[in-house]
Symmetry: C2
Subunit: 376 residues, 2 copies
């Protein structure tokens, strides 16, 4: 039933504990979906309900403590976490505040992710109450958590490889799924069904667009406009398996393709090749950006980065960007995501998912065709 | 392309502005998906990426101001929001902090949802920086936002009715979709596909369980265990249409059903009837809870509430609970969700979605069969 053996969670916990010791933190408080799941194995879509807060406390010494609403007790008891403290939530007077403050009050300095990419998934009012009642000093532990999560275990890599294969299998059906005259919303629906049929658990993320010779943005839900001859159709999917994401796209030309679009496709394909040649242990993200961006020429990079980490979340650190000097290490799973502008209002994006090794990266996705596929 | 006409957003904005004037707030700051979408119409699954923060400022006088990453400019420009200020995100040095602080510095007292059900979807470190740079005083505006969102417009009700119909149509196919010997994970997969085929845009929420004569919890992802004769299969779905949720479940007996399970089903069905008879304008949530809980007898309510609001989120305020004295009003969309314990580790839940009116509520879901359906 658990997504990983207990040993996997013990390893994650020990990594956190030794980092806490080094940073002088007595414990870490987590309240967000990805972080709770990473350290406890608690996986549920119930996070869709904003009503109840959920907490996991990782002490520097000892076992993790789940401080959660009663409704989650049964599911949490099936994880490796043994110390589970619950309250009857929702409780508008005290929604876990006293229970959490009581657990924390045994500590002085408590880490909480407060930096880049972090959220506080609890009412800010209640966070202030917990601070006051517990008397602890909260310090940022974003970097500490990042440094652990950024390296994927063998077991995580197996799942990530599998979901990328599932996504690739669904894209292989493109010529059957998409055709001229099909409303874009139906193209999306067909592709979601294809992903589920190929073995995905869920499709939390499917964005894309279609437009004559290129498209305007890359984060939109579909319109009802029918696909037309000469459209470039792009679908970018974050399908999941056991809570792990793939994140890659494919571009298809409907019936015909302009030379400009073919040329853009080729430039992006070659920039991805440069990424594949350069993405290896010891290289920094900034260096990788520079290499890929060079291959894009003047038209490159309208989205600020050319790839990112991948795992429990659709996007994770690091960023393949000029400002990110993270050194690539074996076990990182990344996207390579070059994009370029064809003309004003028309862009194109390519994306592949890779595993960093000491040598050439392992492609987790089935490499996009070297020339744009014309379907329809 | 927009989910609603501009007039709908203008009405929402005017409601917020008159409430701000009454509460003495100069502006409201929003940073969460549901709230940004409600007031701007900005709908994207890109929120799955935790990398970038997004902001919407509602001044007490004047037009809304979007303060967002450049990657969202194109999509935001297609909403009714005209004042769109962007920055190149991610930027680890200043990820929108200065831009937001600059917008806010024209105000003194700024509302921010900080109470029940609220989250802060930005780094806490950056929130502190915005506070310092802007010099504004932040005050809680949770209740103000709740009071607006709790009443659904006619246009919202149409979408909610449609997604409930879609969910009902998918459940009507249960006898074809589910059978003994089918791994629960495959039952889930079949049902997700059925929901998409019936017209759902997405299935962000599908939880459930199967067990002999009842099930242990109601928030789990599926196991791979095959459905067996005598199992009660429960599926609880939050499928979406244009970003609005249904949230209801159905129970099915596989091949045969014990008397105890039949009895539990009947008790829950009757408790829902009591809910339908009592849920009307002027009644408080606490009164509705009391009526439904009375119909459950001693076995009732293990999840702390017997229903909740429904809309942009899977669960919204209010709660059908003893502590919630919210008065029901026409235009509220609610779930009725009685649950009971059959024996230790075995429970059952029913759920329907309704629209509150001056008289009897309008059922948005197709009422569950009065007797448990036996399939197989």
């Amino acid at each position: 039933m658990a997504d990983f053996p207990t040993a996997e969670f013990e390893t994650r916990m020990m990594s956190a504990q030794s980092a806490m010791a080094e940073a002088g933190m007595d414990a870490i408080l987590l309240c967000t979906e990805a972080e709770l799941r990473y350290f406890s194995g608690f996986r549920t879509q119930f996070w869709q309900s904003p009503t109840r807060p959920w907490f996991l406390v990782l002490p520097q010494c000892g076992d993790p403590i789940a401080v959660i609403p009663e409704i989650g007790a049964d599911l949490m008891a099936r994880t490796w976490v043994r110390d589970i403290r619950t309250w009857a939530s929702p409780d508008p007077v005290d929604d876990g505040v006293s229970l959490l403050a009581n657990v924390l009050s045994g500590f002085d300095k408590v880490g909480l992710p407060m930096g880049d990419e972090a959220s506080l998934r609890m009412p800010l009012r209640d966070f202030a109450r917990v601070q006051e009642k517990s008397g602890v000093e909260f310090v940022d532990c974003s970097d500490l958590i990042k440094a652990i999560r950024i390296i994927k275990s063998d077991a995580e890599i197996v799942i990530l490889r599998d979901i990328c294969s599932i996504g690739s299998a669904a894209f292989d059906r493109a010529a059957d799924l998409f055709h001229a005259g099909q409303p874009l919303s139906e193209s999306f629906r067909s592709f979601k069904i294809a992903l589920l049929q190929a073995g995905a658990d869920d499709v939390p993320y499917l964005v894309g667009a279609a437009g004559q010779g290129g498209y305007g943005d890359v984060i939109s839900p579909p319109s009802g406009t029918p696909l037309a001859k000469g459209d470039i159709l792009m679908l970018d999917t974050g399908a999941t398996l056991r809570g792990y994401f793939c994140d890659f796209d494919r571009n298809f030309a409907i019936n015909q393709c302009t030379d400009a679009a073919m040329q853009a496709y080729d430039t992006l394909w070659q920039a991805t090749e440069v990424g594949l040649q350069n993405a290896k242990a010891g290289v920094t993200c900034a260096q990788l950006f520079k290499a890929m961006n060079g291959a894009l020429g003047n038209a490159g990079s309208s989205v600020g980065r050319l790839g990112h980490g991948l795992g429990i979340q659709l996007t994770e650190y690091p960023s393949i960007a000029p400002f990110d000097h993270t050194v690539l290490q074996p076990g990182m799973v990344m996207t390579l995501e070059p994009s370029l502008s064809i003309e004003k209002g028309k862009m194109m994006v390519h994306e592949e998912n890779i595993l960093i090794t000491e040598d050439a990266p392992v492609l987790l996705t089935k490499r996009a065709a070297p020339e744009m596929q014309v379907i329809g």
